[in-house]
Assembly symmetry: C2
Homo-oligomer: 411 residues x 2
């Protein structure tokens, strides 16, 4: 099916909230603890087809939320405008209302909402409408703070499985996401092999590197060093740990870009001056940019959630408890499209290639591609064209296989 019109918008969307566990039922966690109640924020785009074979789950990265596509009817949340170098604006829409992957999800886009039922799920531990450290702890009547249990990517995915069941989806045509979203996609394929027909992990890894853990730890230290963090108990206070969170975000942001993209975008250009200021205010454009990123982030993110989510990322290791990675992957039934980016040094391509090799040795059907780009890790949000070609083809192929299977069964 060739589309004649230009790709369009997923339209006006609202985030929905599903309380998937309520006492006495509770979500079992990898730590051994339990969580209840559990609410997940999510959005859906497109329609589930009659045989429920066209559902795709999209998972987001550290600072993302359920609003992945279309124009938000709500306010707040991450958006395309928060992305490093900005996605293209769409007509006269305020870019702050566009979903964080709006360039990839919509009619005629990579995740074509004319064909697929796309679910975008938020995560537990976050601060975007799902249960997290800023939620009310039913045992105290106050926000959890550090009383919130440490959660893992496995826990996030376990809760998403329940959400998908509530939406009537027993089996996903595909699960995809970039960065930590890619970790969730991988975890889905491993934890629920029967429920995942295909998997598109992007700019991600089967286990976070020592360097990645190191950056996460430094960011957490920056937050916990903020006197207003107050051991996580700050929700009812006037002063919030915004300075620490802002520094954490600045560190993170450097790791999302690349040496080359920073050179192209900023170089050594000075900010609003012709000569060095010989002071400790802003001299360079890149300093101004980072401060802006830090300052805008604190408007939309919770410091404790930053701690919990980076910890979940650090703990992510598909091989954990399985010995070798191959053991962890041995039950996988999904087909894979693994995408990485040449200048991504936070989740370097070699990690994706290792994963592809491990899967191939197990006989899994794997396509993997390293997209040449200067955008660094942020490329999963920005390299629309190259990703669209690969993802659209991969999904269409998988949908055709499902139809062939279903047709064969019907005969």
């Amino acid at each position: 099916m060739i589309r004649n019109s230009a790709p369009g918008s997923a339209g006006l969307v609202s985030t929905k909230y599903a309380t998937i566990y309520e006492p006495p039922e509770a979500l079992p966690l990898d730590s051994g603890e339990e969580l209840s109640p559990v609410t997940l924020a999510y959005e859906t785009y497109g329609e589930l087809n009659h045989d429920r074979s066209n559902a795709i789950l999209v998972c987001h990265a550290l600072s993302g939320d359920a609003h992945a596509a279309g124009i938000s009817a709500d306010t707040g949340g991450m958006s395309a405008a928060d992305v490093g170098f900005g996605a293209k604006s769409e007509g006269q829409v305020d870019r702050r209302q566009l979903g964080w992957w709006d360039n990839m999800i919509g009619p005629g886009k990579a995740f074509d909402t004319d064909r697929y039922f796309v679910v975008s799920s938020n995560i537990i531990g976050g601060c975007k409408g799902s249960t997290g450290p800023s939620s009310i702890n039913p045992h105290t009547g106050r926000p959890y703070g550090l009383g919130f249990p440490v959660v893992t990517i496995g826990d996030m995915v376990r809760s998403q499985k329940r959400l998908l069941e509530r939406l009537g989806v027993e089996r996903l045509l595909s699960v995809s996401g970039g960065s930590m979203g890619g970790m969730q996609a991988l975890q889905w394929a491993v934890a629920y092999p029967e429920a995942v027909r295909s998997c598109i992990p992007i700019a991600t890894t089967a286990r976070l590197s020592a360097q990645g853990i190191a950056f996460d730890e430094v960011m957490r230290q920056a937050i916990m060093a903020d006197p207003y963090w107050n051991r996580g108990d700050y929700y009812d206070r006037e002063q919030q740990p915004t300075v620490g969170l802002s520094i954490a975000r600045m560190v993170g942001h450097i790791t999302y870009l690349s040496d080359e993209s920073m050179r192209n975008k900023f170089g050594r250009r000075l900010r609003d001056r012709e000569k060095y200021g010989y002071h400790f205010q802003t001299d360079f454009e890149v300093e101004s940019y980072l401060k802006h990123q830090g300052n805008s982030f604190i408007q939309r993110f919770d410091a404790n959630s930053y701690l919990y989510i980076t910890k979940a990322i650090d703990y992510f290791d598909l091989a954990n408890g399985h010995g070798a990675l191959a053991n962890a992957l041995s039950g996988v039934k999904a087909r894979f499209l693994i995408i990485s980016f040449s200048s991504d040094w936070l989740y370097p391509s070699y990690q994706s290639k290792e994963m592809a090799r491990a899967l191939r040795r197990l006989g899994v059907d794997v396509s993997d591609c390293e997209i040449p780009t200067s955008y660094g890790h942020d490329a999963f949000l920005l390299e629309e064209e190259a990703q669209t070609q690969m993802i659209a083809g991969f999904l269409a192929h998988n949908l055709a296989r499902v139809r062939a299977e279903n047709g064969a069964v019907a005969q």
Copy 2:
């Protein structure tokens, strides 16, 4: 001359202090301000020969000091023990007393103190015995704090020139250093072409990248966010901005290593535990290592000096005020040996290669070499063997040329 014995130690050394400017004389600064008095800490190894042709200046990096080689008769200071993966220990000597480049400077070493008179100079702006923000401001009788003028690599080198003159050295056989030390070496070759016969910039750049500025700015923000920093006025207080400084050092340390070296050294190994702790204390070895680096650094470094020195690094741009880099380099008379390291992503090899190309186009005699290593930026402190081969040969060649010239003049 082939040496038969193993390389030895530069011996027991003491740091010396030269007050090179005293009122009414003052060091003119690039900012337009002046500084007086100015003291520089320095050490020397080996003997100046009769025609004063064998002097080599060694310049240190951000956290270095004058104690580059031998065994310190003093206490404190950076040392070989502070280096990322540790230099080899020498006999029973406490490694904390060894100079930071002891593996490179000494009898029979790369900078052979049997042949050369090696001067190691500290920098203004620092906190290791030279005039800096923790020095007493003669106008107030109190430590300068932020009242200390912002200094540049040019200012550091201008003060070192004066020091060398005091030591009876009008012309250097060579000037060398890694990282910010390499910036000083380059600045020497550009600012004092007649005084520099050869230059060995290592793991450095002619101008700091946007990514480098970004990391420096985040580290400064971490320090300035510490409430005990108190706008730089903390010297007479009980509480010091140690937490901010420690976070800055942790960030810095990640940039000195490489993804590969961190994987080799730490991987995902847990610290004193078999399972994840599900808390926000230390889980991984790499976290423990970083915290140790942060905690030991605050014992030996001043937070304000960290601000001033990173600012000088940010401002370093040989082309500044010259238009193109080639214009800045056009007056250079030194021969160059430029060393870079394959896994150094803070001062990537391509920057050294650019510099080598620019010099060659000007007809300058340049050797450049990218040493394959996994050690990252720290390699300039650790890749002893490969550097020794190149540097020893380059220096011997240059000394022979000087002798031939002097012989020719004598005839």
